[in-house]
Symmetry: C2
Subunit: 252 residues, 2 copies
DNA sequence: GGCGCCCGAATTGCATGCAGTTTGTGCCGC
DNA sequence: GCGGCACAAACTGCATGCAATTCGGGCGCC
């Protein structure tokens, strides 16, 4: 009924490279690594017990996924998407995940339903824990759904874009915890089980839209963008004390 | 009105790596490199005047895009997506490109309209030329549209998935030329200019759907899959002359 | 005290070398 | 002839070395 081919691994599982990728992805998603954080090749290599070659390759992968920014001759850093990029990412994500639930509606096996339910239960349990874990679990719920389509391409795109959205969350969103209403996850599962594709798509749309708007309330120039623009309004305070130290405070 | 940020380059433009990527992408899209074609690192390096390190990195990039298959300790090959993967790619492509035209409807500048028209004219002119060029131009039309959204992420995904679709075309489609009805391109432009988002989305959907179904008529086990399965029906011709030489004729 | 310059340390860009794996081919027994 | 084995060539996986560039701190000058 829901059978597909699915190689599942493209370049993913070159062993050591993918280990590093996974570790970094997770660190980023849990906000242990903030946007802008530096990722020197040999520190990475040393940390994971490999040479720079491998670390470099891993960074290349992550850059291709949009999680890391690679500038020539410069230390790689965790990507800091602009507000508009964040908005675009969410727009794409909405379309992709609507596709996911459309394909999934009424086709979930009992085992899959159980797996989803278990996951959401885990999300509930993690409520008391750190935000980091909640966010990770919420994201993984969406990726888990994508996996169930058995479409490797869809999995890849949903994963990527979900990770990117996480990144923006840590940039533009206040730490108001539990950004993903767990009940909405449950509602989506229910619609899928019932086989109501339209309902599931609508729920998913609403769910993601609310996450997006809750996070990206406004272009909030305060965070994440350019520092010089931020300070522009203050530039004409000529004769005052406490002048900002530009070169020192420039991003961490 | 249609202003956006847009860095445009992620890891793309590490110079030599991206040169190789572009060359290979183009070779693949023009079917000069068939699915399954071998891509040894040092041949590539020699051809482009760089060391294996660079060639390797380029292959990594392309693998991340799904154009190349990287198997451990084996020569990299041009990817050969399964029929189902091809179908999935087209499904995703439809959603993404609907998003593109939705964002673009009524927002095209005069210059952009001119550029699009010029491109379609070029497609028309290329009708007499080789199929390779037609296919490339048709694909580039879609990528050009994506570019006009000023959303780097959207550009990346549309490009990737469009390339993948090209790949499947060369696998599963007969060489019936002009796979992309040029008139449909013109119609889409017209709808965009008129600002009729719904119409443009519908046209784009129909356009891609027709391309997909024209190409992917059926699971066609004849091409692209497994050779042994293909030859199975012929296997019982026991006592005849001219037995197929398996190991020699294997692809290429 | 603040600002800019300069130089050493840190870091990347890239090629090459070596070890391990795969692939292809010729040879031998049947 | 035909199938299998073994060896050699080809190729990848990875680390390391060297040159070029950037980063950061200290020093002198204003």
């Amino acid at each position: 009924m829901a059978g597909r081919a699915g190689t599942g691994k493209t370049a993913e599982s070159t062993d050591r490279v993918s280990v590093i990728c996974r570790a970094l992805r997770r660190a980023i998603i849990e906000q242990a690594l903030e946007p802008g954080a530096k990722l020197p090749e040999d520190s990475l290599g040393e940390r994971f017990g490999v040479s720079r070659t491998i670390a470099r390759h891993a960074l290349g992968q992550l850059a291709a996924e949009g999680l890391v920014e690679l500038r020539r001759n410069r230390i790689a850093v965790v990507a800091t998407p602009s507000w508009q990029e964040a908005r675009d990412a969410f727009d794409i994500r909405i379309e992709l995940e609507r596709l996911v639930v459309r394909q999934l509606a009424g086709r979930l096996t009992k085992a899959q339903i159980a797996e989803l339910t278990a996951h959401v239960d885990a999300e509930d349990r993690a409520r008391d824990g750190t935000d980091a874990v909640s966010i990770r679990l919420a994201t993984e719920f969406h990726i888990l759904l994508a996996h169930m389509t058995n479409s490797p391409i869809l999995v890849r795109y949903v994963s990527e874009v979900a990770y990117r959205c996480c990144l923006t969350l840590s940039l533009y969103s206040r730490p108001h915890s539990s950004e993903c209403a767990i009940n909405e996850h449950r509602a989506i599962i229910a619609a899928l089980v019932k086989g109501d594709a339209a309902k599931a798509m609508e729920l998913m749309h609403g769910h993601l839209d609310s996450v997006a708007t809750r996070a990206l309330v406004a272009p909030t120039p305060q965070r994440g963008r350019d520092l010089l623009d931020i300070l522009a309004p203050y530039a004409d305070e000529t004769g005052s004390e406490r002048v900002v130290k530009l070169p020192k405070a420039a991003r961490r």
